[in-house]
Each structure stands twice: as C-alpha cells, then as structure tokens.
C-alpha cells in the first residue's frame, strides 16, 4: 500500500482506521483497483515514477463527517486532497498534487440545498454536478438558467473553485465571479462561512457577497486552505430569447478598432452574452486552430483572393426579443464606419427551447450540460493524430487587437520551434469578465518519452509567455510551480503571502499540498519532491 510522504505504514493504517470509523468502512478506498479510478487520465506523467497518485480515498457523506476526517488528518499530519467530482480533465482530474495524499472525495455530498427563484440564486454541496442541477431545475419548473462548462459533467463547486468558465451571460459565465457565499471546513476542523453567512440568522448569504472586512471568498479559489462544503451562486433569470450575430471586417488593420468598440459595448452592457473573436480567413483549414497571423499585406491579399473576412466579432444577446434586436441594431451602427464591414444575424432562438431548436443549438450557450464534446472535439478536428487526452494551456493576454496578434504569433512560432502539437488554438476566449484568455489544447500521450518532451516544451512556453507579461489563469498540476513562479513581482511576494496565509491557517500543511504552487512549510524546500 502506498503511504503519504514521511509516514510509516503503521501510522497511516491507524489514520485510515480512524477515518473508517468516521465515514464507514465502505467509503474508505485503499485497494489498487479503487485508487486507479483516482488517477489523472490526462496526466503528462502517466506511468512514470513521478506520476501524482493517491494513497487512499475517503468519501464522507456530510459536513460532520468531513470535519471528523479533517481532524483525524490534522492530528496525524496526513495530507488530504479534496475533490468535488474530480472531472477536471486537462487540469489534473481527481489526482492529488502531492503523491501519497488521501483524496477527500466529496461526491456523496450532492444535495441541492436551495434554489431561490425570487433571489435568482442557489446553494449547493460540492458533489452536485451541472447535470444534477439541470435536472433539478427542469423537474422543479424553475425559471432560472445556470452557466455550464463544456463538458458539463463536473461539479458547480469544483469548477468555480478552479475558475472554470461557461458560455452564457457576463458576470455568470466566469463561474467564480457568480459565487456568493462559501462554507468551508478549515484545517483545524472548524466550520467557516464567508460573507453574510458569518452572521447568524442572516437571510442574505446569497445576496451580499462581501460581508464585513476583507472579502474571504478568494481564499478558497485554487487554494490549499479549506474544504468547501457549501457554495452559493447567483443565477440568471431565463431570458425570453437569444440572438447571435456577427460583425466581419476585411482588412488586417481593422482588428484594433473591432476589439476596441466591442469592448466598449460589452462594458456598457449593450450586449450581455459571450462574445467571440476570430479570423475567418485564418481558420479556413481548421475551424478550431487559428493559423499564424501573417503581415498586413499578405493577410489583405488572402482576404482579397478568397473573399473571406480578415476578422470577425460575434456579439451574443440574451433578453426580450424587442430589446435584443434594438441592441443589435445599435451595435451595427457603431461599426458602420469601417470600410467593407459586413453584418449578419447568425441565429435566433426563443426560450424555452423547442425540440427542433434543441437539435441544432450549442447547448452550453443555454445552460444545458452536454457530453457531446467527447464525441466531436476532444481528440482534435478531422483526422488529427490520435492522442490519449490533452492539457490546456491558458494564458491571460491583453484585451486588444494587438494582444490577439502578438499572442498568436508568439505561440504559433514557439510551438512550431519546440515541436509542440496543438489541436485547438484560440487566442481570445472571453469566458471571464473583461479578459482575453489564450487557449491551446496540447495533446498528451501514454508514452513517457513524448510526454517528457511535452513537459519541457510547455515549461519553456510558460517562461516565454511570462516574458511577454502573459500568465496562465489555471494549469495542470505538473506545471503549477512553474506558473506560480512566473508571477514573480516583488521577489515572488504573491507566493510568499500565500505561504504565510498557509502557515497561519494550516500549520500542519495537511490540505491540498502544492496546489497552485503553494506548499506547506515542511515540503517547501523540495517543492513536494
């Protein structure tokens, strides 16, 4: 049996025995076949001695059992690694960052505690999946819409804590941005509530996020400081309709103006849906991989010869038909001065969605979870060289035309130089408010030699992006130290502050050791090795 680092088999067995007493013997897993299910199936360390694996897993049924397990771990200094459903493929799945940790699997805590139709909010446990919530909303006849990622098989809580994103309305589709109220079990086993949840008798936990003093919700994002056992979310009232449109321009030089006006319109709430930015002429060969942006003369020549626009911006609108059609009309007026600009209404859908529309829509745009992506897109477009999964490289870049072009050129050039395959590449994803995030899906394999090359190349890309001021917002465990290392302002003050908070709140360093580059004191020198 694997054991946590620096722990004897006897002490570990004693800890697991105590955990069995807390949650029941059927819910403690320490056999190889059980632990295999907690591996990261997209790991870039698959099958290598350094692969991050669990020593055991424990699945409590309620908050009290979580508290007992945490106290047992804290008394014995057993590292534990909470997961909600562990479906975060491409960013680590259900495997711990520190090998030998006990995975705290919260899948049994799957209660939708409340959906408040008037407040447009919900309160859920971490094991509630997007499918669970969708079913709940459907069966209760709710008038609310949630934002879902794609695929939608993960947990609302887990996805928000990792800063996942959806495709719907501004302020909701950046899933941590929609959080209002957190309950967490801290390392000492005590229960903590953020915001108005700290006020006994309050009915405003899911209304006012801040409470009093520093806003504590951020302590739990991508963190090592607590086990989140409840989370509140703001939800969007289901709109009457959805309209998707496009604004296309025909010159290389038009991108800056296109993005500048689009930003102003979004920040002014003229459109509320997730906008898209792309280059039709540079995605002719593969719609999910944008080719390298050539110089202006070459790109304009390509546009002239093909008749395909250089750039496109796709605003999306949710609301009453009368309102969103007026908004679209206004959007068009703002771009009308650009020579050769083209406008098109791409799609209009009335809600509730008809059976006919259901067959043609991208469901996550409407808060409907789906697994279709595993069938159509997870392995690349067309006859892409098959892989065994992928990781995401996702760096925050400036929200401007120059930001798109610079990031595109640097990434395409450096990935080609390093021999790094990409099966999806989009330099301007907009799930998160006011941000462009460069997204690249990098294939991983079950072949250690290929993965070793991949790891070295990705580390180099992280450094290159950092030199340009672009930092990842999220990453797989193998690169968490590297990415945190890139946020180096003030001699790595960000990491040092995180470590100081870690030492204060989790002095024995039992919770999620190493997550996003924050290690407990006793593992800091060797960074968990």
């Amino acid at each position: 049996m694997a054991t946590p680092p620096n722990m004897s088999a006897a002490d570990f067995a004693d800890g697991l025995s105590a955990m069995r007493s807390a949650v029941g013997a059927d819910w403690v897993f320490d056999q190889p076949a059980d632990l295999n299910t907690y591996r990261d199936f997209y790991s870039v360390l698959w099958g290598e001695p350094e692969e991050k694996v669990a020593s055991a897993a424990v699945a409590p049924a309620n908050v009290e059992e979580v508290q007992q397990v945490v106290r047992i771990a804290n008394e014995r200094r057993i590292p534990i690694y909470p997961i909600s459903t562990g479906r975060n493929l491409g960013y680590g799945g259900s495997a711990p960052v520190l090998s030998g940790s006990v995975v705290l699997d919260l899948k049994r805590m799957n209660r939708v505690i409340e959906v408040n139709e008037d407040n447009c909010s919900c309160l859920v446990e971490p094991g509630v999946s997007f499918f669970d919530m969708y079913r709940h909303l459907q069966e209760s006849g709710s008038k609310l819409m949630m934002s879902v990622p794609d695929p939608g098989w993960g947990s609302l809580v887990g996805n928000a804590l990792d800063s996942g994103g959806g495709y719907t309305v501004q302020g909701y589709r950046g899933h941590f941005e929609a959080v209002c109220g957190i309950e967490a079990v801290m390392a000492d086993g005590e229960l903590f509530r953020t915001g108005m949840g700290a006020l006994p008798g309050s009915e405003t936990w899911q209304q006012y996020r801040m409470g009093i003093g520093p806003c504590m919700d951020g302590l739990f994002r991508q963190s090592t400081l607590g086990v989140v056992t409840k989370m509140g979310f703001w939800m969007f009232p289901r709109p009457e309709a959805w309209l998707s449109a496009s604004v296309s321009v025909m010159r290389y030089e038009d991108l800056e103006e296109l993005v500048r006006i689009a930003n102003e319109l979004e920040y002014g709430n003229i459109f509320n849906g997730m906008p898209g930015f792309s280059s039709p002429v540079l995605t002719q060969g593969n719609p999910i991989v944008m080719a390298m942006v050539p110089d202006a003369a070459e790109m304009n020549r390509m546009v002239e010869e093909s008749g395909i626009p250089a750039w496109s911006f796709s605003p999306n609108f949710y609301g009453p038909e009368k309102v969103i059609r007026a908004q679209w009309e206004y959007v068009q007026s703002r771009f009308a001065h650009i020579p050769g600009v083209r406008f098109a209404e791409q799609s209009f859908v009335d809600l509730p969605i008809s059976a006919e529309d259901m067959e043609r829509i991208h469901k996550p745009r409407f808060g409907i979870p789906s697994l279709e992506i595993f069938n159509v897109g997870s392995r690349g477009y067309g006859d892409f060289n098959p892989s065994d999964g992928h990781i995401w490289f996702s760096a925050v870049i400036p929200r401007s035309g120059k930001g798109i072009i610079d990031a595109n050129r640097v990434m395409r050039r450096e990935c080609e130089r390093l021999g790094l395959d990409l099966f999806m590449f989009a330099p301007a994803v907009t799930c998160w408010t006011r941000s462009f995030v460069l997204f690249a899906a990098v294939p991983v394999y079950k072949d250690p030699a290929r993965n070793q090359h991949l790891r070295e190349a990705v580390r180099e890309i992280i450094d290159i992006c950092a030199e340009h001021g672009w930092g990842e917002y999220r990453c797989p465990p193998a690169f968490m130290d590297d990415v945190m290392g890139a946020y180096s302002f003030g001699d790595h003050k960000l990491r040092r502050v995180n470590e100081a908070i870690k030492d204060a709140l989790d002095p024995n360093g039992i919770l999620s050791a190493g997550r996003y580059g924050v290690w407990p004191k006793h593992l800091r020198e060797g960074r968990g090795a």
């Binding site: 098989w153 279709e372 595993f374 392995r379 098959p386």
Partner: protein, 133 residues
C-alpha cells in the same frame, strides 16, 4: 461487490459480444439487464428484438446517460453490456465509476481509426456495496 461468480458469468458474455451481434444478443439474457449499441459501428439488427432491452446512440452518450443510465446507476444492480466506440466507453466508464460501478470486461473489436477510436465490447457492473444487487 463483484463476486467471483459474477465475473465468470460476465466473462462468458464478453466474448459473445466480441463475436458480433448475433452471438452477443443470444448470450445477453444470461447476465445483462440491457445492451447499449453505438450506431457508428454497423451491426446486424435482426436479433435485437428478442430478450434484453437495447438502447442506441451514435457517439454522443449525453441523452442515453441523462435519460436512462444516470437513474439506473443510482439503484442497486443493473448490469449493462455494450458495443461502443472507445471514446464513448471512456465517458461511460468515468460516469459509472462515480456511481460505484466498474468495467469488468472489455474487448477491442477492431483497430482504432485515424482519430484513435475503436469499437469495443464491454460490460459495466455494480461494484460498490451501496449499489450491489
């Protein structure tokens, strides 16, 4: 919990699934509660109407999982056999594991295509005591 007897029983079903639809559906009533067929891979449909219920899909498991399997997998028992693409099996296996189930047999039926997807026959059965029959 999967018993030795269960494994032997499903071990007999799996080669039958691998042999093709005729043998598979003839063998299915011995140990399976339902069969899942991925229509991306052509099979003889003739024997489907006798015996075990057959569910069909074409690559995307969302609907069959959401409308049928999610509920059945929350209950005790329910042994599911399938002939599907390996990509669909990956999704189903992940979802099944979450609900105390395991793939107890799997047999590739052909070489992977250019996208790395191969047809596979398999059996998913309850494993954890909370869902054992």
């Amino acid at each position: 919990m999967i018993t030795r007897r269960d494994l032997i029983k499903w071990g007999m079903v799996a080669p039958a699934l691998a042999a093709g639809s005729q043998a598979a559906f003839a063998a299915a009533p011995q140990g399976l509660d339902a069969l899942l067929v991925d229509e991306r891979f052509p099979f003889d449909d003739a024997p489907l109407h006798a015996g075990v219920p057959v569910m069909r899909f074409a690559g995307d498991v969302t609907r069959v999982w959401y409308e049928v399997l999610d509920a059945r997998w929350r209950e005790r028992g329910f042994v599911l056999g399938g002939i599907t693409g390996s990509d669909a099996l990956f999704v189903l296996e992940t979802l099944a594991t979450h609900q105390g189930r395991r793939v107890v047999t799997r047999t590739p039926l052909a070489e992977p295509d250019a996208r790395g997807v191969a047809p596979v026959s398999w059996v998913i059965a309850p494993h954890h005591p909370s869902v054992a029959a």
